[in-house]
């Protein structure tokens, strides 16, 4: 029975590759990346061998605890647990409870995160390779630890299902969870300064973690190394108790939810006409109103708005570290490009809902202009603020004209480039309702190519106004700054109009083909 479920998972995985070879390529790239990280970490473990046993033990316990905590929390907020084998699909089969639970749990190892965690945890053995007995214990602890990860992930997702099942929660949590990722740089910078304090606290923290479900298995080899086999045996028993308790609690929750399937909750909140009241009643205005609604309601767009307040923080940290506050001046151009880029996959984001545009026969230029208009409502004020505030606050007013010119050129020309790109090139993006940070399997190569080309062209278009900025800095002549402003605005405006026209014409010619492309990306 358990073997059956594992074979099912394997078959599902294999069949998903049959849909398209690109999917296989994407999964391979993901697996290689993960494998690279694991190899890097394992070579770190090998090096631990040279350290004094106590310290090596502390580092391992702390690291394993962090990974285990990640397994418990991340599925809640970001990716969700792998539902290839959704327990709900087994409700109509008469499966023995225990076997179903065991099969579902072990099937977690058939998948990239599960297998990598297993390899990584088993790799702890290498830190103790000079003592075969301890190494064997480390292997046992590693495998049990990996099992604990899977069990904890199942327990937290099942017990929180009622909460995480609501669309609103998933959407907000998905974006909030991303904030620390963006701020990773500043967090590390701060953490590095406090490293000594962290090392002082490590022994106490490890002492507690070693008796908690998070690190109990990782602490096993340390007991043997310290010559306390009895403590080790006690710890093993404690760990097994934890593991059994977690699996038991999960299994109970699972069966409660399978016997009382949860009715999907629907929000009862009513909305008015919203943005449709703001724009004129034309096809162009309607597209703008619809797109603006999506900017505010669809987490995939909302995610790019969240980046806006975070980017200044990241750059400020970078600027503070290098000691040159002038780095803050890149904020305007950078936000301009990023905001413009965010509509470059607009049609891919529409997915098959784009059929409405095809069927109603909306003109390409109206489609393009509406989308640009909605983006500009948000992006123009943001870009203006990001361009004007840094020079003014840093008392570098003489740089203002050039920076403003480059920023506006970045936004306007960028919107033009995006209008062309999204009329022609689609790639797999998270589908409506999915987590905005999910990378759809197989998106890899095509997405990277299109995005790189789009970004590259946007960057090249900045060369004229950037050149004038350089001229101003080199000669100290303020006039170059004013010319940069004029060149930037004019170039941006012209390219925006050209982009909308050209994108519109391409759309008119190829709307059915574009629709078939997004339909393939489901």
């Amino acid at each position: 029975m358990v073997a059956h479920l594992l074979r099912l998972k394997l078959a599902l995985l294999r069949n998903s590759f049959r849909r398209s070879p690109w999917q296989l390529v994407g999964v391979c790239i993901g697996a290689l990346y993960g494998l690279g990280v694991v190899v890097l970490l394992i070579s770190g473990i090998v090096y631990l061998n040279e350290l004094e046993a106590g310290l090596a033990n502390q580092i391992l316990v702390a690291a394993v605890s962090a990974v285990t905590l990640g397994w418990a929390i991340i599925p809640l907020v970001a990716f969700g647990v792998d539902l290839t084998l959704d327990p709900a699909r087994f409700t109509t089969f008469t499966l023995p409870r225990r076997k179903l639970a065991a099969g579902l749990l072990l099937s977690g190892f058939i998948g990239i995160p599960g297998i990598l965690t297993l390899v990584l945890f088993a790799g702890q053995t290498l830190a103790w390779r000079q003592h075969p007995g301890i190494a064997a214990t480390a292997l046992l602890g590693g495998v049990l630890g990996a099992l604990m990860c899977l069990a904890l992930a199942r327990l937290t997702t099942t017990s929180m299902a009622r909460l995480t099942g609501s669309r609103r929660f998933r959407e907000i949590a998905g974006i909030v969870a991303f904030i620390p990722v963006i701020l990773l740089g500043p967090i590390f910078a701060t953490a590095a300064q406090g490293m000594d304090a962290v090392f002082e606290l490590l022994p106490q923290a490890v002492l507690v973690l070693g008796f908690s479900p998070l690190g109990v298995f990782a602490a096993l080899p340390g007991d043997l190394a310290a010559g306390q086999p009895l403590l080790g045996a006690a710890r093993l028993v404690l760990g097994l108790v934890y593991l059994v308790a977690v699996i038991w609690a999960w299994e109970r929750g699972l069966h409660k939810s399978m016997e009382n399937p949860m009715a999907p909750r629907t929000s009862s909140k009513a909305v008015g006409m919203g943005a449709f009241g703001l724009f004129p009643s034309t096809p162009r205005g309607a597209v703008a109103a619809r797109a603006l609604t999506y900017w505010l309601k669809d987490p995939r767009y909302a995610a790019s708005i969240v980046v806006v307040p975070l980017l200044p923080v990241v750059i400020w940290f970078a600027a503070a570290n290098t000691g040159s506050p002038a780095a803050m001046l890149v904020l305007g151009p950078l936000l301009g490009i990023l905001m413009a880029f965010s509509i470059s996959a607009d049609v891919s984001y529409d997915s098959t809902a784009f059929s409405l545009h095809v069927l109603t026969g909306v003109r390409g230029v109206d489609d393009r202009a509406g989308r640009v208009l909605a983006c500009a409502v948000i992006a123009l004020p943001v870009t203006l603020l990001a361009a004007i505030l840094p020079p003014v606050l840093l008392d570098m007013g003489h740089m203002l004209p050039a920076i403003l010119g480059i920023s506006l050129c970045a936004l306007l020309a960028g919107l033009g480039v995006s209008s062309v790109a999204s009329a022609r090139f689609t790639y797999a993006v998270p589908l409506p309702g999915e987590s905005p940070f999910k990378t759809p399997p197989g998106a890899g190569a095509r997405m990277a190519l299109v995005q790189l080309a789009t970004f590259g062209i946007m960057g090249l278009l900045l060369i004229p106004s950037l050149g004038l900025l350089v001229a101003q800095v080199l000669t100290g002549n303020q006039l170059f700054g004013w010319i940069a402003l004029a060149v930037g605005v004019v170039e941006g405006a012209v390219l925006l109009v050209v982009g909308i026209r050209l994108g519109g014409r391409w759309l008119d010619a190829r709307m059915p083909e574009l629709f078939q492309n997004v339909a393939m990306n489901r």
Binding site: R167, T266, S267, S268, K269, A270, V271, G272, M273, G274, F276, S281, T282, P283, G285, A286, V287, A289, R290, T293, Y294, K297, D298, D350, S351, T352, A353, S355, L356, H357, V358, L359, T360, G361, V362, R363, P432, G433, P512, E513, F515, Q516, A519
Partner: protein
């Protein structure tokens, strides 16, 4: 509803040698057929027969490899904008802009077609009322049930009072009361000069509702005509099974007899 002002006798939809292949797989194999103006036309066929592919090519969603399509005499692939203005389409298996409320979505469809605001508002209210979606009109479509989504999609196809309606599986997942309401709306529409083309695999429904029917299977047109001509005395379901074939004998499952 507007009465057709095209010359007498022009078919509402005319298809000639329409073909499409996906790789090795021929989805539609050179179909030709006429849908008379003012008819209630059923398109039936087993799963994977090519119904959706054929309708996608007739409505401008999928460019054909071969053949031509005219809607009220307008070449769909030569003058797509004019042809699209004259038809309302309910596509099967596509998403909706589901972050809009039902009312916003129907309004959106109307405005995309260049209609003025007041007409759109008036008709949206009417459609929501008739389709029993008044209470749900201000909720997001993402929270709708499958049947409600189908009904709101139907409303987006009706908003501009098209002369031809092309509906791919319009009754799937729709509750019996709503289905009866939709049938009444469609019958009324046809009696006032409109043309309806529905695809379905519920034979009983097609026999009761439609005046004409076409049977396709494996990408080929097997029969076309009035419902009475095609069923030739038998029930449509019996005729369909005859034409399409593939019925196994049911002697194989003797162990299923519970006695």
């Amino acid at each position: 509803m507007s009465i057709s002002n095209t010359p007498e006798g022009t078919p509402a939809l005319s298809i000639r040698s329409l073909g499409k292949r996906f790789g090795e797989n021929v989805a539609v194999n050179g179909i030709s057929l006429d849908v008379p103006a003012g008819s209630f036309f059923g398109l039936v066929g087993p799963n994977g027969a090519g119904k959706t592919t054929a309708l996608s090519m007739a409505t401008g969603l999928l460019r054909p490899d071969a053949g031509q399509v005219w809607l009220n005499g307008i070449d769909v692939w030569a003058e797509p904008l004019r042809a699209k203005a004259a038809m309302g389409v309910l596509a099967d298996g596509v998403r909706l802009f589901d972050r809009l409320s039902g009312r916003q979505l129907v309004t959106y469809a109307g405005l995309l077609r260049g209609m003025d605001r007041d007409t759109v508002k008036e008709r949206t209210d009417d459609l929501l009322r008739v389709l029993d979606l008044e209470d749900a009109g201000n909720k997001l479509v993402v929270d709708y049930s499958a049947g409600m989504s189908k009904k709101i999609a139907l409303a987006t196809a009706l908003i501009h009072s098209p002369r031809v309606l092309v509906l791919d599986e319009p009754f799937e997942a729709v509750d019996p009361v709503s289905a009866a309401n939709i049938r009444d709306i469609l019958a009324d529409y046809v009696s006032h000069g409109g043309t309806v083309i529905v695809s379905s695999h519920v034979m009983d429904l097609v026999q009761r509702m439609c005046s004409h029917v076409a049977v396709i299977a494996g990408g080929n047109l097997l029969a076309v005509g009035t419902v009475d001509e095609v069923r030739a005395g038998a029930s449509l379901e019996e005729r369909f099974v005859d034409l399409v074939g593939g019925r196994g004998n049911n002697e194989g499952l003797s162990w299923l007899h519970t006695s």
